[in-house]
Symmetry: C2
Subunit: 360 residues, 2 copies
């Protein structure tokens, strides 16, 4: 592992997302930003014609070298890097002359899913330490045959992963997660159980530690208004949430609560916590979207492979105009580098934490 | 009504709130602000010693003239005004030497409740057109014998009002209201009915029109994440909310939705709506508290008497330091003047709308 000792940067797969949106432009901007290369090495996974289009949209010059997937890939990647070129697995599956910018397409969605699957395979093979992808069109992917409620469940499926995993949103240094997600509010109330709260706290704690936060401080939101007002507005705080928070705190997770959900996000954004655990989808989403969700990063926490992506979408209204803001994608790369650094073949402690700023 | 024709300003009762907090200081600042007098005339209801303390805290000079409540009150108020003094009903019920600043007291809370009751009586008698009060300590009032879940229910009780009324929060030009309030989330889900949504839309529309908004645009929030995602995450949007919104739109209320609750507040604050109707307490409260709840105004909508108050609390941490910000209380006075102007004895159309800015 001489190379690993010489170069502590994790290697990330960059997937240019749905090519009818701003994803290729963002990928091109990332790959031509020297700050990004100080944090990670990259392997592009996608269609070379899509990446050429992205470079043109971004008005940047990008030297890609197509390498063959399979046996000699690792050596070929190193050769490309030595030659100052960006290595790419060219899947040749998305011809820009066959789709229209700003128009969702099931056919394109199908190939985007195949591209993500190829990136997952490269991670499984140990060729990359993590995956950062630019915005997808989830409906197009669904219609294109990848029938998963979200990409997180797709990744778990591709990895054959049966354990605990969850979406997290990272914004302004806050790691937002939740106990329940894409179910009706009625069902969410039913799903508030000690087991689920324990799982969510464990996952949040583990993920933040993996990202280099030594003692993550987690604020737990209440379910009911005024945190139940002493049992007057519901008993879940008294019967379920508070005892579970105490139990997990005794087990060494620095968690606190439950707090009324209409002030807990204020406290967190003021810096009193690193993370808020919501009880249901809209609690966290109302807060983070008002705060500036689009600047944030979405990660899939708990899987053996690191996945990060900007929280914003394909931005069809500005596609091809060369004005896509790469800020959130840069944050996604920083976060993937932090998370992947801990588990890469290079071993712990070698990731370039000094280069990671607080923007994520 | 010669005087009324000569002076279009509504007369507002100013109640200095809980005197252990910043309320008296705020009241003194309001009463010595010429901008406030351009919008309304004031009658202070409280204890003269508390107001003297407030003036000292605010470092302002306040000329109060105590007038006797009862038969000759209206004439005495006009006499005080002619003499350039602020008329006051001195209840003599709160001696500052008998309470400690920054410390809640049941005894004080009891007298604060009595003070509010006196202001309500003055409104019932037609002496004032509305009531603006500075922050209360609700727990102190509760312990002092006024056992109501909130001041809105207290006011309705004092007025003997049996009809439809509700709290509304006004912030940055947005009128926030909700279908359900201080109940468990489980109960809130059960309470989402066409009747309640109709009532809430009607009340919001009526109140905003009364405040001078010609055609209030109301966005209705969904109950479930992603507005139910076409029925996948709950059917309340399809079965209850959407049909009721259509029905009320057909009846002439400019309402729209249901919209996913994690983006509807963004749309509203961008100016696409005047109001958001939440389905439950924390939806609206998470959004408005993050936006800056403390700058906002709380009103009791639907009662025959206008009540407004700053949304923030007694601020025990800064009481007596002379640094209390009167911004939200000024907004509360502006809003009371707008709402009271329409229904005062002076008749419609005479309120000084030109002086009302958009800060509320």
């Amino acid at each position: 592992m001489t190379e690993a000792l010489a170069d502590p940067r994790p290697r990330l797969a960059i997937v240019p997302g749905d090519p009818t949106g701003i994803g290729p432009e963002l990928a091109a901007r990332i790959l031509t930003n020297p700050d990004m290369w100080r944090l990670a090495r990259f392997l592009v996974v996608g269609d070379a014609r899509v990446m050429a289009m992205g470079a043109q949209q971004a008005e940047v010059s990008l030297s890609l070298r197509s390498i063959a997937n399979g046996e000699g890939a690792a050596a070929a990647i190193r050769e490309a890097e030595t030659a100052g070129e960006v290595p790419m697995i060219d899947l040749g599956n998305l011809d820009p002359s066959r789709f229209t910018l700003g128009q969702a397409s099931a056919e394109v969605g199908g190939e985007v899913g195949a591209t993500l699957a190829a990136a997952v395979e490269l991670a499984r093979a140990g060729i990359v330490d993590g995956v950062t992808f630019t915005p997808l069109n989830k409906q197009a992917m669904f219609r294109g045959g990848w029938q998963f409620p979200d990409e997180h469940k797709l990744f778990a499926h591709l990895l054959g992963f049966k354990g605990l995993f969850s979406e997290m949103n990272v914004l302004d240094g806050q790691w937002m997660t939740r106990v329940t997600s894409h179910v009706s509010l009625r069902e969410a109330v039913e799903q508030i159980t000690p087991a689920r709260i324990r799982d969510a706290l464990t996952l949040a704690d583990t993920t933040m530690r993996r990202a280099g936060i030594a003692e993550p401080r987690i604020a737990v939101a209440a379910l009911n208004p005024h945190a139940g007002e002493g049992g007057l507005f519901g008993r879940e705080e008294i019967d379920i949430i508070a005892p579970t928070v105490r139990e997990m705190a005794a087990r060494g997770i620095r968690c606190d609560g439950p707090f009324p959900s209409d002030t807990v996000y204020l406290k967190a954004f003021e810096g009193h916590y690193d993370s808020v655990l919501a009880m249901y989808h809209d609690q966290g989403q109302i807060a983070t979207k008002l705060r500036g969700f689009n600047r944030g990063v979405t990660i899939t926490a708990g899987l053996p492979t690191v996945f990060t992506t900007p929280a914003h979408g394909t931005a069809y209204d500005i596609v091809g105009r060369g004005i896509a803001d790469p800020g959130a994608t840069e944050s996604a790369v920083r976060l993937a580098a932090r998370l992947a650094g801990k588990t890469s073949l290079d071993g712990p402690g070698t990731q370039a934490t000094g280069l990671v700023d607080a923007q994520t």
